[in-house]
Each structure stands twice: as C-alpha cells, then as structure tokens.
Amino acid sequence: MANLQATTESKPVRALLIGLALIVLSLFLFLPLLAVFAEALRRGWEVFFASLTEDAARSAIKLTLLTAGIAVPLNTLFGLSAAWLVTKYRFKGRAFLISLIDLPFAVSPVIAGLVWIMIFGAKGWLPPSRMTELLAPLAALAAQAASNESIGGLFEGAAAWLADPKIVFAVPGIIIATVFVTFPFVARELIPLMESQGSDQEEAAVTLGAGGWRIFWRVTLPNIKWGLLYGVLLCNARAMGEFGAVSVVSGHIRGQTNTLPLHIEVLYNEYQFSAAFACATLLALLALLTLGLKSVVEQLSGPPQN
C-alpha cells in the first residue's frame, strides 16, 4: 500500500461530514460576517466613510485604541511574570493563584463592571470625594510641577485628573474594567507552555553562571515567544471588543466615554444601521487581522517545536 490512510470511513461518509462542517461554518461564521459588510455598504461608500469619520465615531475609535494600548502591554507584563512565577517556582497557594488568574474568565462581564462601581462609585468604598482627599498631596505636587514653565506641559493632564479623580463613568474606569476582563489571556497561554517545557534549560543556564535577567532574555523568552505573541493577540482582540463590563462603567457619554462596541450599540438603537455596521466592519476587520496574524504565528512557531 503506497497510500496509508488514517481513516477507514467510506467516501460518502467523509463527504457528508465535510459537507456538514462546511454548511455549519458558512451559516454561523461566514454569513454573519457577510451580513456585516453588506449592511455597512448598503448606502454606499460615502455613508460608510462618513460614519467612520464623524466626531463620535472618531472619539470611539481613539478611546478603543487607547484602552487596548494600555491594557495589552500591562497584561503582557502581568501575564509574563505570573506565568514565570507559577511555573518556575513551587510555593504554598500556587494552585490557588492559578485558579485566581482565571477569575475574570469565570465572572460575567456585567459583574466585572459592577464591582468597579461598588468600589469607585459615588456610593462605593472609595468614592471620588475620598479619592480627592487621599490624592490631595499628589495633586498638590502635580499642580506645582504643572506650573513649572519648562516642564509644566507634561504634568497638566495629571494635575487636572488628580484634582478631580474620576474613575467610573470616565476613561480610567473603562481602562480598569478592560484590564480586569483581559487579565488571563497572556498568562493562560503561557502557563501550559512553560509548564511543559520545565525548568531544565534554566537550570542548565544557572550552572553555567547566567544571572536571572540573562536567563530570561536568552533562555526563557526565546522558548515562549510565539505563545506570548498569540496571547497578546487574543488579549488585544478582547480588549478592543469588550462590551459588557465597559458598558456598565462607561456612563455612555457620546464623544467621551463610548468605546467602539458601545458606539455601535448607540447607532443601532438610533436606527442608523449602515453607520452601525460600518463601525462594526472595523471590529470585524480587526478580528480577521487577528486571525491572519494568528495563523502566521502558528506557521512560524510550528516547525522549530517539532
């Protein structure tokens, strides 16, 4: 036999299975995607571009990019250190810590938003009035720095915020909620990977006299780089697409605290379907880009590991 076959199913059965998979795929994945683009372009390119460039849309896009731009690097750092800690060391409460990392996955996004209202809301544990008191010394410092002629410009934003530290129903709350929701992505991707690789290589490096940083850069990081990149991609996709938690803490102020997903909901509720779907194409394109990058990452990471 020149052709070894792994499966024993007859041709019709195979055709049926493949056909079924294709039908389900196109119904549940391809059709909705097509609908998004079709609806977005129904009133032509002019409406499409106009709805992406009007003020509220631009502010939503900016806010979404800002949120992801802060949440993703933060969670990359966190994920790296958490995975490092959990896989290279044995300590009491390690199993508990691993489950705790998963908490944001287990909790409903609505709750993930509400907890921040409970903490930073006007009736919460740390209401803005209390925050103002707590941050007063810092605010004074920042105000002083801001009044400095040469470097003042750098501190203006910080001083303004510290004087009136708003968290929920403002941009910081949106960022905090997003960080919370996207917490586990990088760590979850790295932990199994680093677990399976063990610490042999690091131990060898230690015997050869390498220090901690050197081991990390030269041994650990090269081993996990693709897993890390994959985790970052997933984290970014979720950070830009998060709706539930952000919706709770946003306050829905147009042109100020609406992220792209929230802006899409507003447009849809205003019967501006074409505009809503035009903005949705941005998120859809982002998803496609993530998928594309992901398969590139998989291809690149495939051969060396085998």
């Binding site: 731009g69 993703v72 990359t76 919460g124 708003k166 129903f169 990081l221 019967y271």
Partner: protein, 342 residues
C-alpha cells in the same frame, strides 16, 4: 530574535503612554471650555441632538466662546441609578419625576422642591401613551379593551426598569378604572389579562421599539407617542398610530443637578439651557420630534399630528409619582400581584 520582541513590547507601551498623554492634554483644555452633560432617557436622543445644536448657536451668538453639550441616553431608571453612582450629570432630562426624586432622596444631589423651579412642573414638553399597530390594523385594535382579546400580542417594556412602561401601565390602569367604574377586582383582572398577552418585557422603551418594529414581534405596541411616530418614519409603510379613548398626560421633567453643576461651575449655564427648552425655537423642535409643546400657541400648530385626546394626570388621578410608585411598582405593588400571578 528576542531583542526584536522586546523592542515591540517596549514600543507598544511607549506608544500607549504617549497616546495617553496626548488625549489627557486636550481633555484638560476641553475642561477649560465650558461643557455640560445632559443625562437623558432613551427616546430623546434625536430631539436633544437638535436642541443642543440650536442652543449652542444661540449661546455663541449672545456670549461668544464655545460650549459643548454631551449627551448620555438609556432607560430612565438606569440613568438615574448611574447619576446616583457618580455619573456627573449637570442636568437630567428623564422620563418621569420619580426618577429625579430619587436623586434627592438617595444622594441629595438636588433640592427636594426641584420640580417647582421651572414652569409647568419642570416639564417643558409632554407626551402621551398611544398604540402602534401593524399597517391596516389587521387585529382591529381601537381601545384598551381590545388588548386583552385572546391572540393579541402586546409589546411593552418592563415597568420595573422603564419609565415609558410605567406610563403605559398607569394609562391602562386609568382606562380600566374608568371602564369598570373603580371596581378594583375587575381592574386587576383586566391588568392581569393584559400582561398575559405580553410575550417579552424589554428593559427600556428603545428595546421594545426594536422588538416591535424590527424583530416584528407583537400586534400592538404600547408606546410613547413620539416613539410611535418615530418608527412610522424609520420603517415607512409598516406601522400606524392608534389613539385610545383615554390616555395619560406624560410629563418628562428636567432639572439641574445642583451639586454637580456647582462643582463644575456650570450652574448658570445649566439653568439657561433648561430655560431654553421653553423658548419658541425649542418648543417647535419638540413638536417636530413629536413631543407635545407646552406653549399653547405652538401646540396648536401640531394639533393635526398630535390631536387633543382625553387624558388623566398623575397628580389628579394617582396622587403623585411617589404614591403611584408605591402602590403599583414597588415590591409587592399591583404590578407584582398581577405579573407573578401569571
């Protein structure tokens, strides 16, 4: 390989930080220009876009300088909750007085007598509850009594969360009380049958509108008058408006959230903004968006579209919002009785 990765990571963080700084600076500048936050309920979105435009023009012509008015919309009860939790509204323009009362009761954000600070109980425009039906009215729905017929599906949001739904409920109640000559057992029976015909309770008026107009569920849609006309405009040829024999005068009130406005230094601007709603220009805009203008001369211009029909009022027929809320919508009220007994 790894230096490249590190560079990417660092570059992203630095980019994020600079982006942060960049947005932080203009927002600080923006705060220097006067800005007002209007927290409103669901169906007023389009109306306040026009109002804000007109107000800004007038303000700039008079005072120069630029002002900015931000809007936030959602279910009336939910919006009130957000303001209590710290959404720093300068003015609220909600669906009913009860939702502004809680701002005083729960958080002391404004004075108890807020409603007496502007004309007409602080409600610069009114509305009422009407029926939206499918084009040609295939189920022949003419009045509240037709809603309890078997096989008629009624769409209304949840009175626990939606202001509009509470007006719907009270309008139905008022009709039944009148029809059954105040026989409470019969009124409750009617309300129970009415809600038996409700297949979904959305949380807000906009959600219900979408259920009826877009998802095409239900035969009759209990709705704000303006919302019913809005779907006629957005979905031409599919629905029509029916006026029942009796409805309720809905007074969506407006108020300056004194504590927040004081903090932002916007008290004067907020007051002028709300007074603007009573000017001829704003009253005309209200009519254009199918709200009933308070100014009698302007209301007359819209009589063809928004006809005079018999209406009960909250104060005369239900005592006050506080009382209506307690009797009907608080835990254990008539709504709980008729809905849990379903």
């Amino acid at each position: 390989m790894n230096p490249a990765l590190i560079t990417v990571l660092l570059a992203t963080s630095i980019l994020a930080l600079t982006a942060c700084k960049k947005t932080a600076l203009p927002s600080a500048e923006r705060q220097a220009a006067v800005s007002l936050l209007n927290v409103s309920y669901d169906p007023t979105r389009e109306f306040y876009v026009d109002i804000n435009e007109a107000f800004k023009k007038q303000w700039q012509a008079k005072h120069g300088g630029s002002i900015e008015i931000k809007q936030s919309h959602g279910g009336s009860g939910k919006q009130a909750r957000s303001v209590i939790d710290g959404l720093e509204a300068d003015v609220v323009t909600l669906a009913l007085a009860g939702d502004i009362d809680v701002l005083h009761k729960e958080a002391g954000l404004l004075e108890k007598d807020w409603q007496s600070q502007l004309a007409y109980h602080s409600a610069p425009y009114t509305s009422t509850i009407v029926f939206g039906v499918r084009r040609g009215n295939p189920k022949g729905i003419k009045d509240w009594g037709d809603l309890v017929h078997p096989g008629v599906q009624v769409i209304t949001p949840n009175p626990k969360t939606s202001g509009g739904a509470r007006w719907n409920y009270l309008a139905a109640w008022a009709w039944a009380e009148n029809f059954f000559s105040k026989d409470e057992a019969k009124v409750l029976e009617y309300m129970k049958n009415l809600f038996k015909n409700v297949p979904v309770l959305d949380t807000g008026a906009r959600g219900s509108t979408s259920t009826f107009a877009q998802r095409k569920i239900g035969d009759v849609f209990l709705s704000w008058e303006n919302e019913a006309y809005l779907i006629e405009k957005e979905f031409p040829g599919q629905t029509q408006v029916i006026y029942p024999s009796l409805s309720i005068l809905a007074e969506p009130p407006v108020a300056v959230v004194a504590k927040n406005a004081k903090k932002h230094g916007t008290t004067a601007l907020a007051q002028v903004y709300l007074q603007f709603l009573y000017t001829d220009e704003a009253q005309l805009l209200a009519g254009k968006h199918f709200y009933r203008p308070r100014n009698p001369q302007i209301a007359e211009k819209f009589l063809v579209q928004l006809p005079a029909i018999p209406m009960v009022t909250i104060d005369a027929d239900f005592g006050s919002w506080g009382q209506a809320q307690k009797t009907h919508f608080d835990d254990g009220g008539t709504f709980d009785q008729i809905y849990s007994a379903k």
